[in-house]
Symmetry: C2
Subunit: 357 residues, 2 copies
C-alpha cells in the first residue's frame, strides 16, 4: 500500500526552496510514497524544474500538484489563517486528509495556525477532547523521549493528561518504539510540595488506566530517558522545550568561542573535528524535526518553520512512518480498549472528572 503525503509547499520561513528539494529527495528514498504538492502551481512547477524534476522525470509519476492560491504567513493571526485565507496551501493540504486523498499532511507553517486549521477541518478523534503537540527529544540512552503537550493546551484538566498519555503511547509505537511504551507524568521534586491538584488527579487517572504508567518524573528525566513518554500541560512542555533549545544553543556557542580563542585552540578544533562533528550530529536538532499534532482525525506533522531541506525531509519521513504504521488506528484502539476494559481501565467520565476539582 502506498502512503500519500500532502505537503504544504508554501509554509515555513523558506517555502519552495526548502520544501521542493526535500520532497524530491524523500520521494527517491521512499519508493512506495506518493506526494501531493500543495501551493501555487506555477511556482511549484518552476521549483520542480529547478530542483531537477522536469515534467519528463520519472519521479513525476508519483507526485501531483494541487493548486492553492493563498499562503498563511508566519505572522498571520489565527483569524486570518482560519477565516481570511480559505484557499491557503495549509488549509488545502489539511483538507486532502479529510477528503481521504492523503494519509498524512506535513507543513512548516505557523504552529498555532496549523493547529487551528487542522482542528477546524479534521475535528478530534472520539474520546479526545483536545489535540496536542508531541515531539521526540534525544535522550542519554541513544533513543528519544516523546513529550506532550508542547503548547496547544495551557490549562489542562486531569483527563487531558490521560489522553496525552494515550496519544503519546500510540505515537511511540507507530514511530517504531516500544509496543507498550512507559509513560511518566512531569512533576516537581520529592522534597517540595508535589505538584498541584490537577497533576495529582492526573496521576490517579493514569495509574488506573491500561497505560504502562510509571508515576511521576522530573525535568531531568526527559534527557535521562527514564520513560518513553512524558506528559505535561502545554505551558510546562513549551517552557521545557524552549529552555532546552536555549541551553543547547548557549553551550554550542561556548564550545565555538573556546576553540576560537587563539591559534593553539583553533588547531585543536581542527584536530578534534571528527569528535566535534559526531557530537554535533548527535545533537543536530534537524534530526528530531517534525512535531506531531495528535488527537485529530488525520495525521498532521509540523516541521520547524526555519527547517532546511534536510530537516524538512526528516519531518516528511516522520509523517510517512506515522501514517504507514497506523498512528490513528493505534490511538483509536487504545481508546476502545479502555472503554471496554474493567472498571480500573475505564476512561473517566469527563464531566465527573472535571467535577473533582
Amino acid at each position: 500500500m502506498s502512503v500519500r503525503v500532502a505537503i504544504d509547499c508554501m509554509g515555513g520561513d523558506h517555502g519552495l526552496p526548502v520544501t521542493i528539494p526535500a520532497a524530491l529527495s524523500f520521494l527517491r528514498h521512499a519508493s512506495d510514497a506518493r506526494l501531493l504538492l500543495v501551493g501555487m502551481s506555477d511556482r511549484i512547477e518552476q521549483a520542480l524544474i529547478e530542483a531537477g524534476a522536469p515534467a519528463s522525470s520519472p519521479l513525476r509519476n508519483r507526485l501531483e500538484i494541487r493548486h492553492a492560491s493563498e499562503v498563511v504567513e508566519m505572522d498571520d493571526s489565527l483569524q486570518v489563517a482560519l477565516r481570511g485565507k480559505r484557499d491557503s496551501s495549509m488549509r488545502v493540504a489539511v483538507g486532502l486528509l479529510r477528503e481521504g486523498q492523503a494519509d498524512v499532511c506535513v507543513s512548516a507553517g505557523n504552529t498555532g495556525a496549523l493547529m487551528a486549521v487542522s482542528r477546524f477541518v479534521l475535528k478530534t478523534l472520539e474520546g479526545i477532547d483536545r489535540p496536542a503537540i508531541a515531539t521526540q527529544m534525544p535522550n542519554r540512552t541513544g533513543g528519544t523521549t516523546t513529550v506532550l503537550d508542547l503548547g496547544a493546551n495551557v490549562d489542562c484538566e486531569p483527563e487531558h493528561y490521560l489522553q496525552f498519555g494515550i496519544m503519546g503511547s500510540a505515537l511511540v509505537s507507530a514511530l517504531g518504539g516500544a509496543d507498550r511504551p512507559t509513560v511518566g507524568l512531569l512533576n516537581i521534586g520529592e522534597e517540595l510540595i508535589k505538584g498541584n491538584d490537577t497533576v495529582k488527579q492526573a496521576a490517579e487517572l493514569l495509574r488506573a488506566s491500561t497505560l504502562n504508567f510509571r508515576g511521576n518524573v522530573e525535568g531531568n528525566d526527559i534527557y535521562e530517558g527514564t520513560v518513553d513518554v512524558v506528559v505535561c500541560d502545554g505551558f510546562v512542555g513549551n517552557v521545557a522545550l524552549k529552555t532546552s533549545e536555549g541551553l543547547a544553543k548557549m553551550l554550542g556557542d561556548f564550545i565555538r568561542e573556546e576553540y576560537k580563542r587563539h591559534v593553539f585552540t583553533r588547531l585543536m578544533a581542527l584536530l578534534s573535528y571528527p569528535v566535534l562533528r559526531r557530537f554535533r550530529k548527535r545533537l543536530d536538532h534537524r534530526r528530531y524535526n517534525g512535531a506531531s499534532l495528535v488527537g485529530l482525525r488525520g495525521v498532521v506533522i509540523k516541521s520547524h518553520g526555519s527547517a532546511d531541506a534536510y530537516a524538512f525531509e526528516v519531518a516528511l519521513q516522520r509523517g510517512y512512518d506515522a501514517a504507514r504504521n497506523g498512528l490513528l488506528q493505534r490511538i483509536e484502539e487504545t481508546l476502545a480498549r479502555m472503554r471496554a476494559g474493567g472498571p480500573s481501565a475505564q476512561l473517566p467520565d469527563p464531566v465527573a472528572a472535571a467535577g473533582q476539582n
Copy 2:
C-alpha cells in the same frame, strides 16, 4: 561592620566533611565575616581540628560553635522537620537569624524542610504572601539570569508573580547586578495561545508596577540573558531548572563518550584539555550554587544537598554578599516605594486581585 553567617553544619548529603572545610576557607577570604557553626558541638570541634583549625588557630576568634542535638535528614518529612526535631541544626541556625544573632543562614539541608522551617520561624516580609526560591543561571552574555520561583509555590495568583519580580530585582541588585534589573514574565510562544489567564493578569500587574518590566519572555531567554530576572510559578521554574540540569548532564556525557571512542580521540581530548577545562569551568554548576529563599524576614541560602566544599563555599559567599548588600532592606524599600507610588505604581490589593480570577 562584620557579617555574621550562621551555618547549618550538619545538613546536606555530606555534612561536616564539606561544611567545615568550606567554612574555614571562606573565613580566610572574608576578613570581616564571623561564623556561627551550628550542629553537634563535639563533632564540629573534631572536624575543625581535622580541617586544621584547632582551638589555638587565629581563625577561631571569628567563629563560634552553637550546639544543636538533632539533624534534619534529607528524607525527613516536613512534619518531622517542623515538629519532630525542634533542636535540629537547621532550626537552630534559622533561629539565630530571628534572634538577631546572625545576618544570614546557609544550609545544604532538604529544600522543603528548610523553606518550611524558615517560614515558620522567620515569617514573611510585610507585603509578601509567599516566599520563593531564586537562583542564578549562567547566560550567553557571560552574566547570570535570576529565575524564581523554583518550586516553593506551585499554584500562583497574579500578585505572586509581581512579588517574585520585586524580590528577584532586589536580589539581583544585592548580589552586585544592575540597580534597576530588567524583569521578564516566563510565557509561551507568540504563535500559540499566549499563556493562561493567571499569567496574563500577572503581566498587567507587572506592567503597572515600578519594576523595570520588559514583558513576556520564553524559555530560551533564560540562557539568552534577555532580562536579569525571569518570574514564573514554582512548577514551571522547577521543570525549567531540572530540564536544564538533565540536558547539561547528557551533553557532558556525550562529549566524554565521543572523546573516549578510540585512541585518536583520546589523544584529542588530551590536547584539547585546556579548552575542555575552560568549557567545563564555564558551566560548572558549583559556581552557581546557593539558591536564595526570598521574602522571609531573614536571608536564607540553600546550598545544593550534594555540594562539595568548593560549591558550599560559593553558597556561603552568596549569602554573605546578599546580607552585606542589604537584600531585605532592598525588598522592603521596593515594597514601600510601590505602596507610596502613584496609582499606576501601587501594589494591588491582594483581595481584589484574587477576585479577578
